[in-house]
Symmetry: C2
Subunit: 203 residues, 2 copies
């Protein structure tokens, strides 16, 4: 490991090396790069990071991260305002948006029900979801939660709260073999569920 005569370099390296996926060698290369570039380069970087952390807020409707009080998805006139996709956190929103397959709205719960970890329903944005569904002419909610006990519990809990709405369609992401995968590499639970949830050939 390179030892540094400069405390400034050492401090900067230590902070950079705390970032995910960056070791001390990469951190050193980044420090050299910053020193080689104009001071404005470092200034642009640090101000973008500071603004990100200090100015980001949560959309008051869907609780996705947002630059403003209402996020750009909730504010958009291009989206189908009758469908809500329910996700655990804002990362899931980004991932689903990236598929380009969903044109409705989102609702970010901020976690999944996990009594062992002391995450009870009142700590999540579940009540806010119920209110949106009741007040906003929603015809379908899609659970895009992880395939775990917590995900299933959360979906079950929310479904129970919504059962008085007779016209509401409640769906969940399809589970099954990933596209392009081979049978021999599938785990038993996924394969088992795929058999149970088999679909008509050609559908």
């Amino acid at each position: 490991m390179i030892s540094f005569s400069s405390k400034l370099i050492e401090d900067a390296m230590n902070e950079i090396a705390k970032l995910p996926g960056i070791g001390r060698k990469s951190a050193f290369r980044i420090v050299l790069h910053l020193l080689k570039q104009e001071p404005s380069f470092t200034h642009n970087l640090t101000s973008a990071l500071s603004r990100l952390r200090n100015e980001i807020c949560y959309c008051s409707r869907c609780f996705n991260i947002s630059d403003e009080e209402i996020c750009s998805i909730c504010a958009s006139t291009q989206r189908d305002r009758s469908v809500i996709c329910v996700v655990e956190n804002f990362k899931d929103v980004l991932i689903i948006e990236n598929t380009g397959q969903f044109k409705g709205l989102y609702h970010v719960l901020g976690g999944l029900i996990a009594p062992i970890e002391n995450i009870t329903p009142d700590k999540l944005k579940i009540q806010e979801l119920i209110q949106r569904v009741e007040n906003e002419n929603i015809t379908e909610i899609i659970f895009a939660l992880s395939a775990s006990i917590e995900g299933d519990t959360t979906a079950f809990y929310i479904t129970k709260q919504l059962k008085h709405l007779k016209n509401l369609k409640i769906t969940s992401l399809a589970r099954g073999l990933p596209i392009g995968s081979e049978l021999e590499y599938a785990d038993e639970i996924t394969l088992g569920r795929s058999i149970q949830a088999r679909v008509a050939y050609g559908s």
Copy 2:
């Protein structure tokens, strides 16, 4: 590529992705990490980077980067003050320090003579080196410059300026086969020079 509803995230990602060795996927992971951590995490990072870029200066003796007017190597009482290792830039100082094999002082030229790129001797810290050698009781200077035309030209130019100092020993890093390398992978120039510069067996 993931598209972002948030301009703050997009700006931060763009700036992070400009760093060497970091692509957009890594930049995204870093952004998620910053958002997950306490604001103080981002603050520590940005302030370390800002301080690095704004407060770093050059040692007024050896022109190495330094936190203060005299760098810690020049200020140290543990170093051999009669030997100067001449290098192109501060990165070379770090690399040589890392070997733990050199206990003398350094002199950072700030580049190599390259007339085609308009880098003439007066643009480098050569005059400052001559003065140090003349005034500071230096007994040896070691050229640790790259094995290129520019490196050789620079060493030759400095040697000529120092030839009036009869007691000064002028040396250069040994060139030859890297330790642990095999003959068949050595390039011809290195192998050719290794033959010319052969040393007594066992030395």
